[in-house]
Structure formats: structure tokens, C-alpha cells
Amino acid sequence: MNDLFAPLFEFFYYSVPFSDDLYAEGLYSSLGLSNFFISLFFVVLFYYIINRPAFSKWYHWLIILLINFAVAFTLGVVLPQTKFVALGIEYHSEYYVFGLMDALIASVFYFLISFMIRWWSTNAKRTPFPH
């Protein structure tokens, strides 16, 4: 799983030795999976749980995307930081740049999943824009 997600993360952000340490600690795997499931959760929340006409405009979809972004960013910062601090490895700005890239990847997931499942939503099948 780590090998599956590593190219994706490293396409967006690759910095030695930070990225190598992420790979060595298997964090790409846990962050990739959490990005996917968090994005899936927010997409399902928007299209099937909230699923109401008054909350089906493109900017409503964007609000959920931003929340997804914020959650992914937090995870992208906190998970590596917790791990590396425990191991006594010291990084600073890398956490935040990586966090941003992690949030971006989660946003891509959110976008792709949205377009895969939105047709079956009753009230938001045309959100964020028509087919």
C-alpha cells in the first residue's frame, strides 16, 4: 500500500530526507488511506446525507471541499509530526508544505469521488456543475 501511494505523494512533494523518512515509516500508506476515506465520507455526506435542494449549489460543494481540505491538512501535519518527534527526528516547514500537498491530494480524491457517485443523488446530481 505504501508503494501504491508513494508515487502520488512524491509527485506533489518530494524533499530529501523528509520524503524518505515518510516512506520508511509507512506514512504514505496511512495518509493515502485516510485521505481516501475522509474524502469518501465528505462526498457521501454532501450527496446522500445532507442531499437537499437548499444545500446543492456549487459553493455548498466548495464549502465541504474546504472542510475536507482542512481535515486532510491537519492530518498531513499532525501524523508525520507525531511520528517524527517520537523518533527524535527534527523537521520544521516540511510538515506544513507536506500538509498542504496532502490536502491537495485529498481534494483530488473528493473531486473524483464526487463525479463518480453524484448521479445517484436526488438533489445534487448536477453539483458542482452540469454533466
Binding site: 437537499r52 435542494p53 437548499a54 446543492s56 436526488t122 438533489n123 445534487a124 446530481k125 448536477r126 452540469p130 454533466h131
Partner: protein, 506 residues
Amino acid sequence: MAKLYVFGIGGTGARVVKSLTMLLASGINTNFEIVPILIDPDRAGGDLNRTVKTLREYQLIQKEVKGFDQNHFFKNGISTLSEIIANSGGNSTVIDGFRFELDGVQNDRYKDFIDFANLDPNNKWLTSLLFSERNLDSNLEIGFKGNPNIGSIVLNQFTKSEAFQAFADSFEKDDRIFIVSSIFGGTGAAGFPLLLKNIRQGFVKEKFYAHLKDSVIGAITVQPYFKVKQDDESEIDSHGFVSKTKAALHYYFKNVTGNSTINALYYIGDLAENTYENHQGGTDQRNDAHFIELASAMAIVDFANTEGSYIQTIQGKAENAVYKEFGIKENAEHITFKHLTDASLNLMKRNITEYFYFNIFLKEKLQDELNNPYASAYSNKIDRNFIDQTFYKTLADFNKSFRIWLGELQRNKVSFAPFNIELETSTNQEITDIKITTASIFSLVNDVNEKKSWKDYIPGLAKNNYELFVANLNKAAEKVGNTTTNKRFMGVFSKASQTVVNQKLF
């Protein structure tokens, strides 16, 4: 499908047929093809013209959704007599457009119609005995102005007309006839017994029609329910309404009910507390719709729904004739659904409410809600282009007539006010539209509380007002699927209106 020929005689007949059209638009189904035949010498009559316009719009809409099961509005077919004849391959040249011309009344005084000048002296004396000088000088073009003695003579020629023969030719075994007339005026009071007698004889222009003689005939005779303002210049004087009614009822006792010619006779009337302008006829004779007319229209539906085994005609005689009176639970200045009996409620409460919400949504919200999936997520889109097309424009016109009709029912006395609406009027006090002033659309049905679910008690959780309507439209669109835009539009709105009313009201 069997046909129900509805003869609407005079101004009341036309207004009852208009109420019937509104009921049919709301989804009430009679299981008969309705064939309205409006008989009124007053060609320019405002009420007659409004009814004809409404009927034509209904037809245009109904034609588009005919046979489409997912829609329940405009379900019942309405045809003109000429369409019936054309569809059955007949070669009659009758072109009716729902109303029938009476020959010889255009620009004619009554004395010219009966050729008074050429009568021999004895007949002149007899005629002068039966008709006043004012009667004889009466202009027939604007009707009989409350004179059944004139009406009976002039209307008699309708039964000898090509139109009446075309009706007889097209009449089939399971078809039925319903006659709507007022008993206190001129045209209707004279026309009903005359028409009934001619149908029961079975002869039209010396040709015998067995089906006609043994036909099942219903009628409603509308007793006084309004007065007209006193006007010494006018021939219509409402002081005579009650005495005319008594005289006519006495006549009916012998010649309608007493001789078993009618299968079902409905009686209706009111205290006549409202006063209309005294217009003898013409475009100005345009009275507000009245609850009595709506109830009379319900009588037509009741007649259509009565099983054939209960009302039969054998050898031209009605067996076990049915006599019914319309009533409400209690007297009220403003009648709402709570005042109606179960039979009336079952017949129209749900349908009329569903159509009201459909209508209000189209008026208030449709243009703002075209981006929702029900409108835009399917290949046949409900968009600005659709709104600009004839089908929608016709529907919008019909819906406006429906709203004005509701407004008039509310303004009249007795007032029928099932919905909490406000009236928009022109400078001459004609109702031009209705408006709603509450933001909570499910509080619009008077004396009916909005149904609440647990979600309504958690702020922000429940879908309310138009949002609930749109959600149901989106859901309905998934069920209706892709078909022509007109059908899809009607199917989606008909289903959604039904669900919304179920969820929030009844």
C-alpha cells in the same frame, strides 16, 4: 370510452361547466369523455366566453399528456361535439367550439323571430296575451333576460338543428347526458325541460334514435343563489326569482320528475345574499364564480360515478330515479374544507389542494428553480426555452384562470375559502390574480394544520416550504424518467404535488 354529454344552458350552465373544467384539471376523473354543449343565445356573454377559453386551454394541455399514466392532472378527456363526430368518421358539418349558435336570434327582436307581423289577428291576440309588449320587443341576441316564456319558444329550434342531430347521431349505448340549468332565469329554466322532452322522445328531425330514448339522463337545477341590483331599465328583476322557481318546480313536478323522464335530479340553491350588477347580457355579464357552481360541478362527477345498474332507463322511462340535494355540515360565512361533508371532501379536497400547490409553485418559484435536477438533469430539459413554448404558455394561462376562479369563489357570498390567499384586483374590481403573503406555504390551507415530523423540531433538519417541494420534484423526476418534455413536466409536478400534500397536509 363512453361519453358524457354535458348541456350547459345559459350563464349558470357555462359557469358550472367552467367549475367542472377546473375540477377535471385538478385530476378528478369521471371515466367518461366529457362533451360540453353550451347553449346560450348571448354569444358575447362574458361567462360563456371565459368558459370556452378555459375549455380550449384544457384541451390543448390534455392532448399533450393523454395516456401518460404518471400524470394525474388533466386526466379526463374533453371533446367538442364536432371532434366526436370527426373521430367516429361522421360527415356532419357541425363546427361548435363547445357553444352552439341559435339560428334567428342574431340582431332579432322576439316579435321578428316569431314573425308576429304576419300572424292572423286571432294569433296576434293570443300572442299578446302570453307575451308583454316588452317581451315582444326584446332583443334576443343577449339572451332571454329571465323570461322562460321566450326561452322555451326560441330554444325549441335548437332541438331541430343540425347540431342536435349531430349529437343524436354520435350518441352511443353507454353514453350519458347531464343537463345544467338555473331554474330562476330565462335560458336555463326554459331549456332544461324542453331538451329533456326532446331527448326522451327519441326523434330528431323525424329520425328515431333508440339509444337516445333509453339514455341515462341526469340534471341539476340551480335554484336562486344570487340577486341582481334593482334597475328599472333592466328586464331582469331578482324579486321574481323565487316565484319563478316555485312555478318552475311545480311544472317540473308534473313534466320532469312526475313522468319518469329523468334518472338523477340534483337540487341546489342558496340564500342569495350576494348581489350582482344588473347586466342583461353581453360581455358585461361576467359574474364571479360561486360555490354553488362548484357544488353543481361535483353533481356532474357524482352522476358520472353512479354505477349504471342503479340508474337505468327502460322503454324511455327512468327506473328508480335518484333525487339528491347538496348540503354542507354547518352554515358558515366562509366555507372551508371543514364545513364540507365526507362525500364532497373525498371527491375534491385532495385534488384541488394538489393543483393549488402545483399552480402556486409555477407562479412563484418555477423560474428561479430551473437549475435543480428535476428540470435540468434530463435530456428533455425544463428550461427557459420550454417556458417560452406554447404548451407552457397555455398551461400558465389556464393556471391563471384557476387562480382567478379560486379568488372569485372566495370573494363571493357565500364565500368558499379553502386557501389563505389574498386577491389582486383591477380598478374596476375584477380579480386579476391571487397572491400569498405567508412564507410558510403549508399553512395556506384554512383550518388544516401542517403535519409535523420529528425533524421539524430540530432546527435546520427538516426541509420546509418550497425546498420540500423541490426535493419531491427531484425525487419524482427520477421515477418519471425520460419522456417528452411536456409529459415529463406534468408527470413530475403531478407526483410531487401529490407527495407534498400527503406529507404535510392530509
